[in-house]
Symmetry: C2
Subunit: 207 residues, 2 copies
Amino acid sequence: MPGTENQGPVKISRKDQIETIATALFKERGFSATSMRDLASEIGIEAASIYAHVRSKEEILQSVCFKMAHEFFKELEQIEKQADTHTEKLRQLIAVHVNIITRNVAASAVFLNEWRHLSEPYASDFLQLREQYEQRLRAIVRQGIATGEFVPSDARFVTRTLLSSLNGITQWYKLDGELLPEAIAQNIGDLFLKGLMSHKDDRPKYH
Amino acid sequence: MPGTENQGPVKISRKDQIETIATALFKERGFSATSMRDLASEIGIEAASIYAHVRSKEEILQSVCFKMAHEFFKELEQIEKQADTHTEKLRQLIAVHVNIITRNVAASAVFLNEWRHLSEPYASDFLQLREQYEQRLRAIVRQGIATGEFVPSDARFVTRTLLSSLNGITQWYKLDGELLPEAIAQNIGDLFLKGLMSHKDDRPKYH
DNA sequence: CCTACCGATCGGTAGG
DNA sequence: CCTACCGATCGGTAGG
């Protein structure tokens, strides 16, 4: 079985390794400032050898960006389906968003900051996905306002500010940090739900 | 008076024009993905001509980054000086931060995202400034908590999340947008101060 | 501010 | 996965 016999107990293929290291470099230096030679030397092979596993530098970026987009959408759809309150939906969406980011800090940072180096039609496709995600998050906020669950507020502003807070995590989160992902989610959830809920019901309830 | 006789009523010098256009390109495409030829063609001159006004591509980046850092610090020091409450200090700091960003969206985005392309010792100097700014903002939050003005909370987390919300404005603010800078500041101020203040005193007071 | 140019480096290919 | 290499483009300089 050529191609499978040498993988052994560690499942990570050379292709996966390339993507992982590239993601870290793309986050640190940016896509354009990372050369295939940088990447190769980090892996320990020659630059030309990368092309045995990957068609181009951009293909790596495409893979990272669309994989992350898929992650975010998968969880969003799960949350949209359930018939919970909008408070609960928002709290859960914050929790899974924090979870995805803290489990994939580098990939999330690349997803957020390097997608503009995608060529067409990938850039347009990607942008559409991002806009749709924001729209659907905004719909939850809007509906919560419409039902009176949330205080009247600018859904567009709230959504953008929430996304900035969540996505900003990529810029400061460290695996050995003092704050656990669950605590981050709790804090962001409290902050925004406190801001969105009427005064008599300040503390969000769980079940 | 050579060098001054041709400036006429419009005060913008070629050097300023280069910096302005470069800033816009650096924001849109990133520093590394912007070539001096891109910049030149946007200005309408040859690439080599840029070097009559500017020593290098990086010098432009240095200028933008440190000018913005200076802007932010100038306002921070002003706010630290006055003997107001921490609530009022935080609200004012948010207001001036929003103001600087909305008046310099491109420069702020470059300041936030492209500084890592600075070479040494500029990168280290810059990073030190950013960390000091965050530290001093955090001190205001900490002091507000210590005096009992703010509810007990994680000052580090609050500061980072506030900065993410503020800096995120560069990613969505448009001059013709529906939300005016004053309204943005008001909303962010309300959100965070509501989150920071004790329940019996939910609405922050002004004078 | 332009023409003419330089050495370095880039992403990527051929052929093994 | 490597050696050897290609054309394109990069930041920047010389000299006017």
